[in-house]
Symmetry: C3
Amino acid sequence: MLTLGCAYYPEDWDETMIEKDAERMRSVGMKVVRIGEFAWSHMERSEGVYTFEWLHKVFQIFQKNDLYIILGTPTAAAPPWLVRKHPEILHVDFFGQRAYPGVRQYTCCTSPVYRRYAARIVERMVSEFHSYSNLFAWQIDNELEINQVNCCCPACKSGFREYLKRKYKTLEAVNQAWKTTFWSSEYSDWEEIEIGDMDRNLNPSLVLESQRYRNLEYLAYIENQASIIRKGCPGLPIVTNNCGDPVDRHALFQRLSAAGGDLYVNPAHRLPTIAFWMDLLRGFRPGTLPWLLECSTTPWEPVKNLLELLMVHYHARGADLQLYFHWRSHSGGFEKSHGSFVGFCGTERPGLASFRKAAKKLLPVLKEFGDLPPPECRAGILYDFDAQYNYSQGFRSRSAEYGSKLRAFHEHLFAGGINSDLVPPDADFRKYALLLIPAHPHVSQKFADRLKNYVQEGGVVLLGAESGLFDDESNYISTSGPGHLQDLFGLEIRDYIRFRKSDFPNGCITFSGHFGGKTVRSECDCWIASIHPLDAEVLCTFDSGLYQGQPACTLHRFGKGVALYCGAAASDLKFERELIHYAASLAGLPLLKIPSETEIVTRGPLVFLINYGTAGSRFDLPLKGKVILGSGFEDGRVDLSPRKYCVIRREEV
Amino acid sequence: MLTLGCAYYPEDWDETMIEKDAERMRSVGMKVVRIGEFAWSHMERSEGVYTFEWLHKVFQIFQKNDLYIILGTPTAAAPPWLVRKHPEILHVDFFGQRAYPGVRQYTCCTSPVYRRYAARIVERMVSEFHSYSNLFAWQIDNELEINQVNCCCPACKSGFREYLKRKYKTLEAVNQAWKTTFWSSEYSDWEEIEIGDMDRNLNPSLVLESQRYRNLEYLAYIENQASIIRKGCPGLPIVTNNCGDPVDRHALFQRLSAAGGDLYVNPAHRLPTIAFWMDLLRGFRPGTLPWLLECSTTPWEPVKNLLELLMVHYHARGADLQLYFHWRSHSGGFEKSHGSFVGFCGTERPGLASFRKAAKKLLPVLKEFGDLPPPECRAGILYDFDAQYNYSQGFRSRSAEYGSKLRAFHEHLFAGGINSDLVPPDADFRKYALLLIPAHPHVSQKFADRLKNYVQEGGVVLLGAESGLFDDESNYISTSGPGHLQDLFGLEIRDYIRFRKSDFPNGCITFSGHFGGKTVRSECDCWIASIHPLDAEVLCTFDSGLYQGQPACTLHRFGKGVALYCGAAASDLKFERELIHYAASLAGLPLLKIPSETEIVTRGPLVFLINYGTAGSRFDLPLKGKVILGSGFEDGRVDLSPRKYCVIRREEV
Amino acid sequence: MLTLGCAYYPEDWDETMIEKDAERMRSVGMKVVRIGEFAWSHMERSEGVYTFEWLHKVFQIFQKNDLYIILGTPTAAAPPWLVRKHPEILHVDFFGQRAYPGVRQYTCCTSPVYRRYAARIVERMVSEFHSYSNLFAWQIDNELEINQVNCCCPACKSGFREYLKRKYKTLEAVNQAWKTTFWSSEYSDWEEIEIGDMDRNLNPSLVLESQRYRNLEYLAYIENQASIIRKGCPGLPIVTNNCGDPVDRHALFQRLSAAGGDLYVNPAHRLPTIAFWMDLLRGFRPGTLPWLLECSTTPWEPVKNLLELLMVHYHARGADLQLYFHWRSHSGGFEKSHGSFVGFCGTERPGLASFRKAAKKLLPVLKEFGDLPPPECRAGILYDFDAQYNYSQGFRSRSAEYGSKLRAFHEHLFAGGINSDLVPPDADFRKYALLLIPAHPHVSQKFADRLKNYVQEGGVVLLGAESGLFDDESNYISTSGPGHLQDLFGLEIRDYIRFRKSDFPNGCITFSGHFGGKTVRSECDCWIASIHPLDAEVLCTFDSGLYQGQPACTLHRFGKGVALYCGAAASDLKFERELIHYAASLAGLPLLKIPSETEIVTRGPLVFLINYGTAGSRFDLPLKGKVILGSGFEDGRVDLSPRKYCVIRREEV
């Protein structure tokens, strides 16, 4: 059920102001307020000296106003006294440079000292506030790792060695797994191993394990606090928001109550991008609804404030809980000019007017439908953090490349009116008629079995170019690829060439072919596979170059399903879209011809139509139902004004 | 009275060469030579071992040649023995990296050790050379802070804490003033406070105080030497040159004898820019004439040498003392290929021919007029260093933005033939018919009173967009803005929106209106105010966007004067110029239609006409007088050839 | 005689694989394999624990397959145990940052500790492997300094001081030589001198000496290993490959057996560039043939594999020994995706097919001609490392500028079909009809004498603009220039102006004149000399600017030869080509009109014609002979298809 609220910093203000704010929050339709996540120094002014009275007061004022609280643990910004007493808690970069305190997130999550202090403040907060009935949930820390570089402090270094001992048991196993004969890197003592960092030209296996280790430390850092909260506040939801690399968000949110995220939309963002982010967030905890813990009060200012339109969009994509960032501008500090609902001198800002209007319009209508299921998605896209690290080969640019592939594949589906989930490799693929795998460097036997089973039973899978050629340590497999999947795809990958189209001013190479009744052609950039078909059907072949005449794109019927492979990375977007739409048609998914910047999302009985574009959006939609919010749909015909939405109750359901 | 000279490095040369050089300097019309500012190691080859003989000889040779000396204290480059003995005097950057000696300005001005050594060498120099009658003045150090990053050495850190204790008395006051509740930054011990740096995302209040502290240390560093010189050479002028941020040059030069600056013109510079620099320099010590301690011998080489034209320009804008940099090329070292008058093998370079010709032409004619008053300026532009730090919010890019506003406003006036002073906030505004305030984040009660008084008595003021919204610690004021000035401008600023036009590819917002008989219109970029008029007259309103229909630009008659406000920063330059010319017309200042790259400056009886452009400059000028230098003026008609000037004795005076 | 091979990493593989690889190498026509250069940790797993069995096995397997071995000393990558035991061997940057181990080349070549360990492993390798008859040669280290910054570790610092003491004897001499009066840098104790680095705005003399010192340390580092090898393997060739700055490659390879280099061609490279690199490499040891120790297996992939064409090109330019990099892709580590002959799963890659075909075609035919002399070059271009450091004035960008001049001059000759050697200043110039000197800042008396002698006897020399103005310490000479060469060129350089054309949007200056029956004209950028002719003939004069009417370009007949000087650096390429072709015609060198991307190279009886372009290449060639490889030449008429070559046996020889 749509529930709205905001982030708030009561530590900035006196009681009278807080009371006025709380009343106004309630009056505009807010229900949940997030507080506390940067207030450590206001709760513990010096070691062991706690000042919780102000926060008790906040709980009481909010209770009086029917406002629920998400209480943040304040560990994203250590208080000055702690940093001074324990400088060893500070983040250290690859070259040994300690972080300079004074911003936020300058502490190391691995530090046992920091974890001890973090646990202590959380214990105290739990013990102080657990009994408030308006304590709605806990948020642990804030935007974990978003502003940090990879830490290489002594605690991380020794922790990494312990991790490696647990994982590999012997140094010989490390040397073997990491192929340390290269560049004379064979270890003869555990102490010789230094933790790695991205973008340093290190052994990719070392970097991969370093990132895996760091991920585990983050999970442990979160668990350190979560276990205390679970004990003191049994049953209360626990979340965190907007973590960065190298945290495996699937693993993280599996351990918490909901996938929490922040989403700041600005005028440069197109709807497919915003939708991607929402689907990404939702996919962090498959099958459940995400929490939007921060979203922008100022989208498209000064031209417009599109808060209402985006509120509907977020809700359509699954965000029942939406907190806007933030209520009242700080009067000082680094973020004082951040977007907010109440301005520097207390005036209502444009976002608040938009919010009030939207809440008043949406809440009563939507309330009738109670809790809606997640949005319907008949296609899945595989997103695997470990695959992303493996794909990265130690470079941030390649990690970003993996992300770009996901976004591109998602947008191709979006353009055909097909909504998709971004799912982890252990998700139940059977709920999807179509599964896209943009890139999967290492294919385990287990994953291969699940995939084959999926296709055997009727699934359609499309595998991207650079897949199935690496092992779990980012080394090459020693046989032809794609590992464990040759029977599924009916082919072998025996070699490949990596290149850049731009190196060939007179033109590089192309491939072409036919499928779905269409003739297709694409230029190549970046990576092409040398495919040897076993019993795959060849859809396209290379027109020129060293692989001329060899297959570029194949189809293999397997059991009741179909397995497609495209052996050219970064081919034309136009071709890629044709191929994905062809895959969708094989999977029986209907393709819609809808204007760009338009979306159709179904949640249970409701269908959300949104036109985020600056032109009207008109098309036929085979749907029967009644408009309950907005307008622009009648008798199977959509006619949405620019920047408008429409919610329909379906007849069929 | 125009007095010419150069910088010279006698420590490079033997006596014979110095004698020849001195004779040639005299013969070309030079009177003053600056020496010594990098010669510490040549005066004190090891600690306490002084070798001043060579410098005595220089004084004597120069005396023989009627040459006066500006003697530099050599503290901009510590000798190697001092750095080795006291590495703690080295600059330290934000991350703790000590400067590497071997260039210049690698020492910390705060260091008590360095100040002690600096004082000692200055004392010795004073005692050695105070009695020479050709000792004309002292220059302390050289280009202070120009090549330095903000120092964060232990001396600076502890000094900063002492400064804060003196200023705030209690930690509670610091926490309150800096709003340290944000990001959990409340201090519980003075030792927790670390000095800040620009561009580090720190609390802007911390950065502001860090820069204020650093400024005071620079002033004290200068005073450490100045007090010694004053005592030993009472009455002799003391200057310094070309200081960089964060030195408050108004405060600095108030304590010295003249505003000293360096000015290197190159072909990329337009005349309005060069004029701006001259006016800026002159404004550092209002009402007095600036000293040009270094200017280029090679402007516009190899195409031309425009030294003569620029000599007249500098003089027109107030520089009676002009030293050219420098006499004879060093035979080695980092700057050996720097512009000079005498080349590597002793040949006369093009600049020297230009200099000789100019000096011969100008000096005898100008001599007749004795000391001229500063150039006449009927408009003022407010330049406040403290405002610039406040405006910067801790970012160098925003500090530069403040400077850009000043330059733009100055150029708008220049384009209308209106010369302006750049004045500090405590200047006497009453001498100006028009006062422009491009940006003034914090308006104190005192400044507001002075401003109101100024307008009350007939002044015209134009206030730029982002003004009057911050307190003295760079926090928001808690009421609507502009602080203390609502009655003067007849309006309230209740909110604002910051944005970038470039985020809106389909166009952002505009405002339009009428004034001075013209219809105006402007696009908006960057920042717009939400103006609520009290009794101001609305000149322009926003055409679209969230503030559609609200005022964008207002006029308020107050007493005998007028107060204009423009609530849109970075509007079109064309609009900005219209508005400023409208303000000038309200102030009764006549606008001239003159070609760009042309200027008219009046000093007492003389009017200087300069055409810096590559085309002829022709226009009517309501002036009666007699050409005394150059040509191109007759019967109220100007006709200046490209790159030519003309000096006229006015009839009226 | 053309001898082919590859680089190989047997430490990665088991015996069975090595045996198969060796057989395949032999079967495709390989003769020489380079191994071992990164295998230290595989030979010495912990200190003093040697494991050479695997390498003995490799020698034996290769012997069985008639394969010769170039054995690399493994010092480019220290093993982890050594770095951990002796962190003081790590490279240290200018700011004191120690290198992070884990890549390669992170150790300091100066470190006595590192040299001791390096000597020990080399001694052991020599003692183990000296007696194998298929031990063909040694390669010391790998790509020295290519990935390093200038080291400033304590060992380098103290070594630098010792070097200075040896060179200058007294501090007074240092101060005098480096003109340390500038910026107060006079030293009073040796310990005050810190080693310099490029791009730090330091005294250019200090930087120059620092680079000279570093060069000597590199030479000593190489000699440390070479002396051991010479003793243990008398008569065996010793090389190294692809060194970077600041190594003086002339000095380096003089001490070794051949100039060794790596050459990775990609599609962006034009033939003149590739030819330049080959001529450069060959010039590092004049009169001998270079060894190509690494070249690319994948040029122009994925469009084509041009290995065969390039194999002929390398051979034509002197590379009889060509090793391709590398045989079999590593299964892990940082370079696993590097180009190779055998792919990740053992498949033959396109390069191997090209190689096999080329070897089969070329080897039998070329064998008949035995050892060929180096390619015929009638022009020389002076390349002097010490001049490059001097020219750099402490900046890498200027060092690169020196290199650009060489490349430009070389390409001008190439475009006229004239092949040239890049020769050191002590080369025998008399074998060249024409000698180009793009830039030579310091002209010693000895060099001047050799040059005059050369021209006296009939040589033609062209001297580039910025020459003869500096002394051996990068200070200005105190007289007019060009030092010691005024009589040869019949002129004095009395001054110069440095500038950038781009500063003058309305156009800068030009010069023009006549020679060789042509009227020429050129814009000026960068640097112009003030030339005072003694008895030189003026070819061109400046059309405008401060040197208007003065000579820009001169000719002076001296003895039987001619000395040309061009006093404008970075003039138009078109003019520069005209001038160089004019110089060639004065030297009696015939200019050919051939298409770009085409070359003609003669080695003894054979003439190599190569068309690297994408269009056919047709022209007349006054040559009689028989095509022995390829096709496209008949009756003095060349008609080469795109990307094709042709080898002709000359009749005349």
